[in-house]
Symmetry: C2
Subunit: 516 residues, 2 copies
């Protein structure tokens, strides 16, 4: 084989690979579960958790470290002793009954609106990483430009339904102004839905003001456009910063994830069922409070789940107990008919090695079998959330697309037609050339772009690259082909003016929550 021929063959293969790797950027609609959920508890066991949670709320109570919340609870008729609120079961159940079971999220591009709750679910990227692994896999502190990179990638990945907010922490922006620039980046680089910072009540107000600029203040009153998150301090404490931010969101009728933060064995009992009973009590207390703030406001049953290594104290991911707790929490949220959030594709690996793959996939499969609705941290998470990896981000997004396809369930629309093909082909034949195959293969079997299934010889001739290297190439290609979904110029100007004004008003002190 001469040089010419080699070049042609090589060129042909490269061209085919180029087409194969070409991004399909159309966002998938919200996932509609077509596969039944895993429910390891019978009705009596669900009731047992429920009653245990209500007893905790009544007898132990929940600490709200916030004078406004304590006043609100007194007005609502709760038994408040110092900062501890004892919640009568009747009151709790009455309050949560006004939470809408379903949410329609509105994006600035209406084609990217998504449904949430019941059988409808969305994938949202990870957030909050203090480090990133960049396009060269270097672990370093992130900048606002890096955050933009992630928002662009989130925009381009079909199975991601949101650009989230601070996927990585932009360390080059002073802390006190960070929420403004994070929000702008989420809005600017993607026309999907996004999340809103809850780092302080005032920061939350800024986020909501910016949402009002983008969507109109009246629109917010009747439409969901942003999601906040409020972490609990388990066991059984909600703090002032989180509660204040929650109120800011709720007053504008925007939902918050009410997220007990479980480090199983450290801040919950060392046992899955009792840990879920405590978590459920915590979630119910915050969910109930959203309805004290504004009756009928949407709210999402949340949690962050890890188990703790009793050897080192480190949080663990992908463990069997996390899967079981996800199944159980799904059952509880459905008992209350409230949309619920969990965390996806978690892991503790320091690099994007096989550990990361196992942990992430175990997490995702359990999450999808749990029937979760708001599926957060769905791309990029590694090192227990300490870094977001660009390579893992694009692979996770593809893995979400695989999970999406599985969770959609079975297609039956070509069943009889395909059985006719079985008769046509007969024993010992093959289907590759059959018209049914020709007509259906594109949709029949998921073909991942980043998973190499070639022979070792082909893989070697392609450069012997591991999935991390292939993913980084793909990320570079995506960023190269990125097209910004331009903001309306008038709104863009107004948003920039808002950021300028607030940046002048807020002292540039570099500490979190200093402006509270």
């Amino acid at each position: 084989m001469g040089v010419q021929e080699t070049a042609t063959r090589r060129g042909g293969r490269d061209a085919r690979r180029s087409v194969r790797m070409a991004p399909n950027l159309e966002m998938l609609p919200a996932l509609k579960y077509g596969v039944p959920v895993v429910e390891p508890m019978n009705e009596e066991q669900v009731e047992r958790i429920h009653q245990a949670s209500l007893a905790i709320l009544e007898d132990v109570g929940v600490v709200f470290r916030d004078p406004i919340a304590l006043d609100d609870w007194k007005c609502a008729g709760a038994d408040v002793r110092d900062d501890r609120v004892h919640l009568d079961r009747g009151l709790v159940m009455e309050l949560i009954s006004s939470i809408p079971p379903h949410i329609t999220y509105h994006a600035r591009n209406p084609a990217k609106n998504v449904e949430l709750g019941g059988k409808d679910a969305i994938f949202v990227p990870m957030t909050g990483a203090p480090y990133l692994r960049d396009l060269e896999d270097v672990r370093r502190g992130p900048t606002i430009a890096d955050l933009g990179t992630f928002h662009k990638l989130a925009h381009m990945m079909p199975a991601l339904h949101s650009s989230a907010h601070h996927i990585v922490e932009p360390m080059d922006i002073v802390v006190a102004h960070r929420h403004l620039h994070i929000t702008y980046s989420s809005m600017k680089y993607s026309d999907k839905i996004f999340m809103g910072m809850t780092t302080s009540p005032r920061n939350a107000e800024d986020v909501l003001d910016m949402c009002a600029i983008l969507f109109g203040a009246d629109f917010l009153e009747t439409h969901c456009v942003v999601t906040g998150n409020c972490n609990g301090n388990s066991p059984l404490v909600w703090d002032q910063v989180m509660l204040g931010a929650m109120r800011a969101f709720n007053r504008r009728n925007q939902p918050v994830l009410c997220s007990p933060f479980v480090l199983g064995g450290a801040n919950t009992p060392a046992s899955t069922a009792p840990a879920v009973a405590q978590l459920n009590a915590e979630a119910l207390s915050a969910l109930a409070y959203t309805q004290v703030v504004r009756k009928g406001c949407p709210a999402i049953y949340g949690h962050y789940l890890s188990t703790v290594s009793m050897q080192s104290g480190a949080p663990m991911a992908g463990t069997p107990e996390i899967s079981l707790m996800n199944f159980m929490i799904g059952q509880m949220a459905r008992r209350y008919n409230i949309p619920w959030r969990t965390s996806n594709l978690l892991g503790g690996a320091k690099i994007f090695d096989a550990q990361a793959g196992y942990e992430s996939a175990m997490t995702m499969m359990a999450v999808l079998m749990s029937g979760a609705n708001y599926i957060w941290h769905s791309a990029g998470w590694n090192e227990a959330g300490m870094h977001c990896s660009i390579a893992k981000f694009v692979v996770d997004a593809e893995v979400c697309a695989m999970g999406y396809r599985m969770a959609e369930g079975i297609r039956w629309d070509d069943f009889e037609e395909a059985l006719a093909a079985v008769r046509d082909v007969g024993p010992g034949g093959h289907y590759l050339g059959h018209p049914h195959t020709q007509a259906n293969f594109q949709r029949a079997f998921f073909m991942p772009k980043l998973f190499d299934n070639n022979s070792i010889e082909q893989w070697k001739s392609d450069g012997s690259r591991d999935i991390k290297e292939r993913a980084l190439s793909q990320a570079k290609r995506l960023l190269n082909e990125y097209e910004e979904p331009k903001l309306d110029p008038a709104k863009d100007e107004e948003l920039r003016a808002y950021i300028d004004r607030r940046s002048r008003e807020i002292p540039a002190v570099d500490a979190l929550n200093d402006q509270y």
Copy 2:
């Protein structure tokens, strides 16, 4: 901090790690599922597949490329036209009704007997790899010594219930004699159950003769001690070699996995539900034949599943359609009340990278949610089965232990006691020192040995090793600590004498099935 102090701290950490990594070698009993299975088909859809399969068996028929089988079928009353057997639905259902729904497998160490069928499941290592990645991660042709290494590791991993047979192909043994040495290695290095070669009818007889030496010929008549595998040639063909080996097993009352070999889209329709209908027809035809050979003989509903890349023709693993087909096949096997086999922890990665982790874990989670009984290829599989990796073998075995823990379900035995701990600890407290935690943490949360959840600083000070390197260290440690479960000397001598005699009798021609 002086040199002395550093050394002490370092030594202390190493000592702690040494204890932490110390192997627990006690085999887990057969998994008893405590979590419900995922059943994406309703009763009507199960019936639709069932009826479609019966129609295929009646109208299209199945080719048995084997004169003995064709005679057997004629005697059994089937409609045989040339080599094609048309199976009446009444005949099929009558025949499979005598397959026992449950199997007790007997190991040479009775403490390692395992149950199979219904809610009982076992994990079996991968087999058949023509290459290995060795203790230095070098990809090369395996020897009989390498096979012994895998049998030793299988013996030591708690979640593996079997030493299988030719985990890797021992290339240094002439093909015609290989089955003798493989069987001996399975029997010698582990006292768990094992598998038997079905590379020809005569080879299968040799395996069963060796089983008769180990257990006694009469014992085999009434007890299961070995498992064979018969792959189908989809679509709808069973060949002479496989059928002959199957008969050898069945005549001695030993079970065979009746395994259609699905390359979805190539040898089945490009659609999940019709592919399952064809596979189900194929499995039923072989299962029915086992009962023609010996009524009441145990048999296992099998299959190998992959989907085919329509870009390259390569088989894929971990894809959403494979998960869905596993769920569906589980439903079909349960409809017939027959134990069933699937494949676990599959993948197409060429190295032990994140791709391998994702694919393997997605496969395992789907398999466990399918309620599979005989869970084959549960350790070491990579590169679409072209190599068995020692590193992946030990990690997969740990991942099986994690899956096992999840599939066992929820413990409720300490529920009230742990709720009392919630009252003791109260809002804002912590559980680490509570007596309930002290008493329960060891069993509460799975603590993987090979998954690193430490901080990046600790990980760096431990050598910045990826999971592959950690796994290879652990494998070396395990092999160093391996203790052979000695065969009874008289039986050992008889086995060796049998191998010597047969090696003299069988011409050492280096081609598969030449002695058939």
